[in-house]
């Protein structure tokens, strides 16, 4: 049993396919590329693979990661070229390497993601003024995200009192590690964000933009938001490095 870890990009029209669609694309691509993938046991055998995290629909990424389990060892470069030959335009493996079969999962090691977020201003604003607003925002100790948690209905369609939708409040401020202006050209602004990601804490950039609009004077146009993930990071000897760095 061999475990191949790869970094790939998801761009172009492929940003519009969901995480589940992406899983199917990989499964079928591996069949067409004749990759000797391992299958799960049971009545519905599935190729054994695992992603670092799911990317939202509409979000592009330069830094997606996948582990694929193989029955036979094949040459890394051949793996990359065979798979890239059959993957659709918009999905591309950049780098692959074998990791120890028992290596910690991508999902477990992922700690942070860096994003570039494009958002338009509804009316012009001076860069210094925007910067000041951002700085006020980041100085806050608490930024509360209210999330309604949908509970499943009780058996038989009866709703019990405790099944009522619960409201969950999370302070997202500690999940924001960096929030800066990358560029401001006219009314088009690019923000750079370094946010918590992975199984411990995960914050989506669109949530940050939503709170920015609520808590600051920056005239953000929420419909214009376009997000791209630039990098995914793990912690290694106190440093944050990309998921495939040793």
């Amino acid at each position: 049993m061999f475990k191949m870890r790869s970094r790939f990009t998801k761009t172009g029209d492929l940003v519009f396919i969901s995480h589940l669609d992406l899983v199917r694309v990989f499964e079928r691509a591996m069949r067409r590329a004749n990759i000797p993938i391992s299958y799960s046991q049971g009545f519905n055998p599935h190729p054994i693979m695992a992603f670092a995290t799911a990317l939202g629909i509409g979000v592009s990424s330069e830094a997606e990661y996948i582990d694929i389990q193989l029955d036979e060892e094949i040459d890394v470069n051949e793996f990359i070229s065979r798979l890239n030959a059959v993957l659709p335009e918009g999905l591309k493996l950049l780098k692959s390497q074998y990791v120890a079969p028992k290596a910690e999962s991508l999902m477990a090691i992922l700690k942070r993601s860096i994003y570039i977020v494009k958002v338009d201003l509804e009316t012009p604003m001076e860069e210094d003024a925007v910067r000041a607003q951002l700085s006020d925002f980041i100085k806050k100790e608490e930024i509360i995200e209210v999330k309604e948690k949908k509970k499943k209905k009780g058996k038989g369609g009866f709703r019990r009192d405790r099944d009522k939708n619960k409201v969950q409040e999370t302070n997202i401020r500690p999940l924001i590690h960096e929030l800066i202006i990358f560029s401001l050209n006219g009314q088009e602004m690019l923000l750079k964000m370094n946010l918590a990601a992975g199984s411990v804490g995960n914050l989506k950039p669109e949530i940050v933009v939503k709170h920015l609009k609520e808590l600051t004077e920056i005239p953000l146009n929420l419909e214009s938001v376009r997000i791209s993930r630039l990098e995914s990071l793990k912690e290694h000897n106190g440093q944050f490095v990309t998921l495939m760095e040793e």
Partner: protein, 612 residues
């Protein structure tokens, strides 16, 4: 107009992957002045339309021709339609993102009557005049085909060309004829006259319908010298030689039938009297084992699919079923490719085969007795006995199954409450058989699902003259079954009778219904096959406004000598045969499978020249 900018819309709608048009094996062509452009429209959402084998065949067939570019169009979901109308984006073809009004042909497949309003809505969204008579030389030809085309009268006024029968040859002939007209200044009429004599082509505007005082049809007469009085359907003689795609579109989204579909034969020899497909797709023609073997290899290699289904009207009747299933398992088990066999009949249920299949992927078990009592099963010529069912179920439970689905219809001609009680008795028997099965052998957690759909009489079946049960009758029958089927381990599902009522109206409708459809579109009716969109009261208001009585179409018994709206269409089986079958139904007399004994339906007179 060129390529439409839809990119920003995709961020706003649910499942934007429906509108990308760049799926695996999709075809993109350079367009020049000679390119004949065809928009293949499926009047339902992407996940339904992409599951349709006919679309996959015709898409790749047309694109295999030089200078023909066939693209796909589905009904945009409600949210996408809203965005498109708001942003003034007309209906476009997925591959090029160019408006369908700029194409040479806009084709619709007529798979079910409840999609008619979607067709009109797509024309409206595509900025194409609804009525054929309102289109001019700047508009595409609207061409339709599929099972409902055999009685497309309710939408005939909206169509320029109707294709009768299997389209692989006749579509190419129509397009070849068009090639001579393309880039010349021609009148629409001259092109339609040119193709009117091709077998399988029906130009509805070349026929006039007159009515009697009682509302029935007096006559359907050709009004153009190029139009034949009787219109014959087209069939493909040799299924091994006919085009079949070697690569099919593979969607990103999870669609309804997400697998390689391998057509093993056309037609059906069983002769069930309620079944329109069993009548209109005659005669039976098979693909040979060698051809299937060759296609399978290519299709799996070109798609990467993990499942293949052998498709036909009655797959267990395929002569080489055993060899092809064994071949699929021997060859592809290592790749974990699952095999699914839909529409197996339980009377020749080959358990050994099913067990083989289960080695790779587990599937559910479905039986379709269709009617609860032996008497009623004889009426509909479903040559299947209770013993067949109990034997099969006994065997299935003994092999570890614990979940069984039973399909029935209610509202069949001559049905009484005793027949309904038969449904209950069968379901209870299945439960009893489970508990009589050795505990060690049977699976855990018995679940018997009983589904009852409402019978809709269809054209070209022996029941085409029969009244459909009224809504009140169906409701009362459904309530009866709900009461009777209250038992642990039994789940009872039944279809919405109102939808079936509307289906019944349009299935046997005539040209006077086109105005109803136009008004229904104005009233906002669309996606009528979807419970969450179907609005029965709105429909009834439309009928009232148009002064059309729905019961005239759905609940009226026709006389054998009445001129039916589809009488000018020849599907190969004679009216005499259908009358004979209806009479035999009344006396519960069976007709043999025509592989065993020719039932004299007439298909071997003129269509295949001799024997089936």
């Amino acid at each position: 107009m060129g390529k439409l900018a839809i990119h920003d819309l995709l961020y706003k709608v649910e499942k934007p992957a429906r509108y990308l048009g760049n799926e695996l094996n999709s075809v993109h062509k350079e367009v020049n002045d000679n390119t004949i452009r065809f928009a293949f429209c499926f009047p339902d959402i992407y996940e339904i339309g992409m599951s349709h084998l006919g679309m996959q065949i015709l898409y790749h067939l047309l694109n295999s021709k030089e200078e023909v570019f066939c693209e796909r169009v589905f009904s945009p979901a409600v949210d996408m339609e809203e965005e498109m109308r708001k942003n003034k984006i007309p209906l476009f073809a997925l591959e090029s993102r160019e408006p369908i009004k700029e194409m040479d042909f806009v084709g619709f497949t007529l798979q079910y009557e409840m999609s008619y309003t979607n067709i009109l809505n797509m024309l409206d969204l595509g900025e194409i005049p609804l009525y054929s008579k309102d289109r001019d030389e700047n508009h595409p030809f609207v061409i339709v085909g599929g099972p409902c085309a055999y009685n497309a009268e309710p939408i005939a006024d909206f169509c320029d060309i109707i294709i009768l029968g299997e389209a692989e040859e006749v579509m190419v002939e129509v397009i070849d004829a068009y090639r001579e007209f393309k880039n010349t200044s021609f009148s629409r009429r001259s092109f339609l006259e040119k193709i009117a004599s091709i077998q399988g082509v029906y130009i509805p505007s070349f026929y006039d319908v007159t009515y009697k005082d009682d509302g029935t049809i007096e006559a359907v007469k050709a009004n153009n010298p190029n139009a034949p009085e009787k219109l014959k359907k087209r069939i493909i003689q040799n299924l091994d030689e006919v085009f079949y795609p070697e690569e099919i579109l593979v969607p990103y989204l999870n669609i309804v039938h997400d697998r390689v579909m391998l057509e093993v034969f056309r037609g059906c020899t069983r002769g069930c009297r309620f079944c329109q497909a069993g009548m209109i797709y005659r005669p039976v023609r098979e693909k040979g084992f060698d051809r299937l073997q060759e296609l399978t290899g290519k299709l799996l290699a070109n798609t990467g699919y993990e499942e293949i289904s052998l498709s036909s009207l009655s797959t267990s009747d395929y002569s080489n079923l055993d060899s092809i299933v064994r071949h699929l398992i021997d060859e592809y088990e290592k790749d974990k490719v699952g095999v699914s066999l839909p529409s197996l009949r339980l009377d020749n249920f080959t358990f050994e085969l099913i067990q083989e299949i289960q080695k790779v992927r587990k599937t559910g078990l479905t039986f379709a007795p269709e009617a609860g009592s032996q008497r009623l099963r004889d009426v509909i010529n479903k040559g299947l006995t209770e013993l067949d069912l109990t034997n099969a179920v006994e065997k299935a439970f003994g092999l570890g199954w614990s979940s069984v689905k039973l399909y029935f219809m209610i509202g069949l001609p001559t049905e009484t409450y005793d027949d309904l009680d038969g449904i209950k008795d069968l379901a209870f028997k299945v439960v009893d058989i489970y508990y009589q099965t050795d505990k060690e052998k049977r699976g855990k957690g018995l679940n018997v699902t009983v589904s009852a759909s409402t019978f809709v009489p269809k054209p070209f079946t022996p029941f085409q003259w029969e009244p459909q049960d009224t809504l009140e009758e169906i409701y009362s029958k459904q309530r009866h079954l709900v009461d009777k089927l209250k038992r642990k381990n039994i789940t009872f599902n039944y279809h919405d009778a109102k939808t079936s009522f509307l289906e019944g109206i349009f299935a046997r409708g005539d040209r006077r219904l086109s105005r109803v459809l136009e008004e229904a579109l104005k009233a906002g009716c669309k996606f009528d096959g979807w419970n969450e969109h179907f609005d029965y009261n709105r429909w009834m208001e439309v009928f009232e406004k148009c002064n059309v009585d729905p019961a005239f179409y759905a609940n009226r018994r026709r006389a054998y000598d009445e001129v039916l709206p589809w009488d000018h269409i020849d599907v190969g089986i004679t009216k005499k045969f259908l009358v004979k079958e209806n009479e035999k139904a009344k006396s519960g007399e069976l007709t043999q499978d025509c592989r065993t004994n020719c039932s004299g339906c007439g298909i071997n007179n003129g269509f295949i020249g001799g024997i089936c």
